[in-house]
């Protein structure tokens, strides 16, 4: 099986992948929901950080714990935990993010019956010295809790190594993204989606090898393909768990060439310094990388960042994508849209409920939108 196909297979059945690992290796798997989860520390502890994306199955158990007004990620994640679909997890890690995840952590700890549970209550503002000190302290505490929970020692050497591995993964993902942006006909949008999804669940030691292969393959193929006349689109928002939309956008004459998603560029942006204190280095990446809207780094950073991406990647239109009931993204939307309006970039808003809207309806919306683009 070629590398891409392998990654695709993992992304299409991440739980199957995890169960297989569990059956054949002794590596513990820890679930997580958010890109502020210090994967480096988990990797250094010899465990696998496994991102959870919620479920697309019917909800049967989570509704007894959650009202109708929480996002589908929180509801779907809990559903999978309660129905035993996540039995391969040794535990879960909750960094502080939004109000809903914060409560999910409690509900999960009280009901999911997992052996381990970690809360890493990271600072919300990322602009001050005291926040930096606090962030480092939280990460150090997490390191000790993890050592205790898993019964291992996390040496500085192991951390350096994990920092290096994760840096390499981010670097390769960055290359692959750039390649796709320049040669959209050589690598499909939905493949980027699968690669990212696989990257967030796979054993990082194995992943780094596979990405290196994939990157070598792509480079060999090179940018020989003729440029397409599809309109260049950027996705901006929270998580994206919907491979179908890449295809739908392509069918409508567009091409997702870049994103500002936490399951996309925000995941691989920034580098962890490989010298000095390894935990401080992890903290510094969080402080310097592009913020998610649940964190604070000044009033205009996200708008400026989006405007820069649009210029750099020659984007014709932006599709805002976030889950219904998501407060952090909902509050930022009018401001980000205004930034795009000022720059003359057309935008489309897609608030996603548990399921995507009917395909026909989406198709029409995308077609109308893409027809508008220059």
């Amino acid at each position: 099986m070629d590398t891409l196909e392998n990654l695709r297979a993992v992304a299409q059945d991440p739980y199957g992948y995890a169960r297989n690992i569990q059956a054949t290796e002794s590596k513990p798997i820890l679930g997580y929901f958010c890109s502020y989860t210090p994967e480096e520390i988990i990797t250094a502890a010899g465990a696998i950080p496994f991102r959870l994306f919620g479920t697309r199955e019917d909800i049967s158990r989570a509704d007894a714990h959650l009202q109708s007004y929480c996002c589908s990620l929180v509801r779907g994640g809990l559903e999978d935990a309660l129905t035993g679909r996540l039995n391969f997890l040794k535990g879960a890690v909750f960094p502080h993010t939004c109000d809903s995840i914060q409560r999910l952590s409690d509900i999960w700890r009280l009901n999911a019956g997992m052996a381990l549970h970690f809360d890493a209550v990271l600072p919300v503002k990322l602009t001050t010295e005291s926040a930096r000190n606090y962030m480092i302290a939280v990460l150090n505490d997490f390191r000790s809790e993890l050592e205790q929970g898993l019964g291992v020692t996390i040496s500085d050497e192991a951390l350096y190594k994990a920092n290096h591995t994760c840096n390499r993964i981010r670097e390769l993902l960055g290359h692959i993204y750039a390649f796709r942006s320049q040669n959209p006909s050589q690598l499909k949008g939905s493949d980027i989606y699968y690669i990212m999804k696989a990257a967030m669940v796979m054993d990082r030691e194995v992943l780094v090898e596979q990405l290196a292969h994939l990157w070598a393959d792509l480079r060999e193929k090179g940018g020989e393909a003729p440029p397409t006349d599809r309109k260049r689109v950027l996705l901006s928002g929270g998580i994206c768990t919907l491979p179908d939309i890449y295809t739908l956008i392509e069918d409508a004459g567009g091409e997702v060439v870049w994103d500002d998603l936490c399951t996309g560029t925000r995941y691989f942006e920034g580098e962890v310094r490989e010298t000095g204190d390894p935990v401080e280095a992890i903290a510094e990446r969080y402080l310097s990388r592009m913020v998610c809207p649940a964190k604070h780094k000044g009033m205009s950073v996200r708008g400026e960042h989006l405007s820069r991406l649009v210029r750099e990647q020659q984007i014709g239109g932006v599709i805002f994508l976030f889950l219904k009931f998501c407060e952090p993204h909902g509050f930022d939307y009018p401001y980000l849209k205004a930034c795009m309006d000022r720059a003359g970039v057309p935008t489309l808003l897609l608030e996603v409920e548990e399921q995507l809207p009917a395909e026909g309806q989406l198709r029409t919306r995308f077609e109308t939108f893409i027809d508008m683009l220059e």
């Binding site: 714990h65 007004y69 909750f94 409560r103 919300v124 503002k125 001050t128 005291s130 302290a137 952090p328």
Partner: protein, 412 residues
């Protein structure tokens, strides 16, 4: 309300809380002063309800609470119209209705008091939710004024030393921020005095709320919702202390005279979450018609609930730690402890939970709390799905049916 045309019913008159008038006066004067700040040269700061207001009082800054404003909007039934304004601007309907209605008000200058006075700067403490941070970012961009964020880590199982240090560091950053904004130094003697008044006010407020433990209760949670405004808005002033002393004394008199707020108090209930501002009267009458009295609530006691953490001799630093421990900045396990204590103290027969669509940190997890209360404490519970300001999320017939059914269980 007494029936016009007939003389006032003396029984009803006797049950009315006399301090209400004074409270209205104080709030009116406060808003007049705040709205006239531009003429008096005083600075205006917007601050979140859980935020440390005391340093503002000590610096002679007028604190303005958008959430209190949101409550007024709700109570005057203007919520839907203003929320819709914000929705037209692109703010999703799923966002907190305080934020939506207030944003709507900023743009239109509408609402019950013609909009809030514009802020010179903003103080946001996220001990109540992450929502306020996003909301204040919006305000900071809109009014183009600086924003100070006091980041108070959530307690899941413990509040570690690093978190304590972090909030203490921020108190000094907060004061520096104020000094910069006001162009003068903090007077620490004054600060000490404000701290003392704050603690005194909080104790008196707690004493007012404690009076609900008496049978019959001289006041209900609906009264507490109304009298709460000063402990939020003017905490740390002599005025608040004087007012709550008067109110506490009035409650003591009522207890001595055996005056209960609900004529035939038979069932005692505890309320959880924010009020349904546009339906307080309706709900209060609905419960009273069943001889049920809401004798206490988790919301209005959240402010004084942190008193045990405050050290008067080290007010500033202990305040920052204390305010990090407010009722909704802690895990469900810690919340259930508080609920258990309150259920015991007020000797209640049932728990009424407002599942408030607007407020995720307060409401998500309620179903688990509900289960714990029923299993451990064996008291009946009722969950009402609604929203504090946005009437579109209130279904009268459904809520009525649920209350009636719940009361049947209590009566059987």
């Amino acid at each position: 309300m007494s029936d016009p045309g007939q003389g006032a019913d003396p029984e009803k008159e006797r049950r009315k809380i006399k301090s209400v008038q004074k409270m209205k006066e104080i709030m009116t004067n406060y808003y007049i002063e705040a709205k006239g700040a531009a003429d008096t040269g005083k600075k205006v700061a917007w601050i979140t309800s859980g935020g440390p207001v005391e340093p503002l009082i000590a610096m002679d800054v007028i604190p303005v609470y958008p959430e209190n404003h949101g409550a007024m909007i709700g109570a005057s039934k203007m919520g839907v119209e203003l929320c819709e304004k914000a929705e037209e601007m692109g703010y999703p309907r799923e966002l907190c209705s305080y934020a939506r209605s207030d944003i709507g008000c900023s743009i239109t200058g509408g609402g019950p008091i013609g909009g809030l006075p514009e802020p010179d700067f903003l103080i946001c403490c996220n001990n109540i939710c992450g929502t306020v941070m996003k909301w204040y970012e919006v305000a900071s961009r809109y009014y183009d004024v600086p924003l100070f964020i006091l980041d108070t880590p959530f307690t899941h199982r413990e509040f570690p030393p690093a978190a304590k240090q972090y909030v203490i560091d921020q108190i000094y950053e907060y004061i520096e921020f104020l000094e910069r904004q006001c162009g003068r130094k903090m007077d620490y003697d004054r600060m000490q005095e404000v701290g003392r008044l704050s603690v005194e006010g909080l104790r008196l407020w707690q004493a007012v709320l404690d009076s609900g433990a008496h049978k019959p209760a001289p006041m209900t949670a609906f009264d507490a919702f109304f009298h709460l405004a000063l402990i939020v808005t003017l905490r740390g002033t002599q005025e608040a202390v004087d007012y709550y002393r008067q109110l506490r004394d009035e409650m003591q008199e009522r207890i001595e005279q055996g005056i209960g707020m609900v004529p035939n108090e038979k069932y005692r209930l505890l309320w959880d979450n924010l009020p349904v501002w546009y339906r307080t009267k309706w709900l209060s009458e609905k419960f009273a018609a069943h001889d049920a009295c809401l004798v206490g609530d988790t919301y209005t006691s959240a402010w004084s609930g942190v008193l045990p953490y405050i050290d008067e001799n080290n007010f500033l630093e202990s305040m920052s730690v204390a305010y990090s421990q407010v009722y909704i900045n802690v895990s469900l396990d810690i919340m259930i402890d508080t609920l258990r204590r309150m259920i015991d103290k007020y000797d209640v027969d049932g728990l009424v939970m407002h599942s408030n669509r607007s407020c995720k940190p307060y409401s998500l997890g309620q179903y688990d709390l509900q289960r714990m209360v029923m299993e451990e404490l064996k008291i009946p519970t009722l969950v009402l799905e609604a929203d504090m300001v946005d009437e579109r999320s209130f279904s009268e017939s459904q809520i009525e049916t649920r209350i009636d059914a719940f009361m049947e269980i209590l009566k059987s």
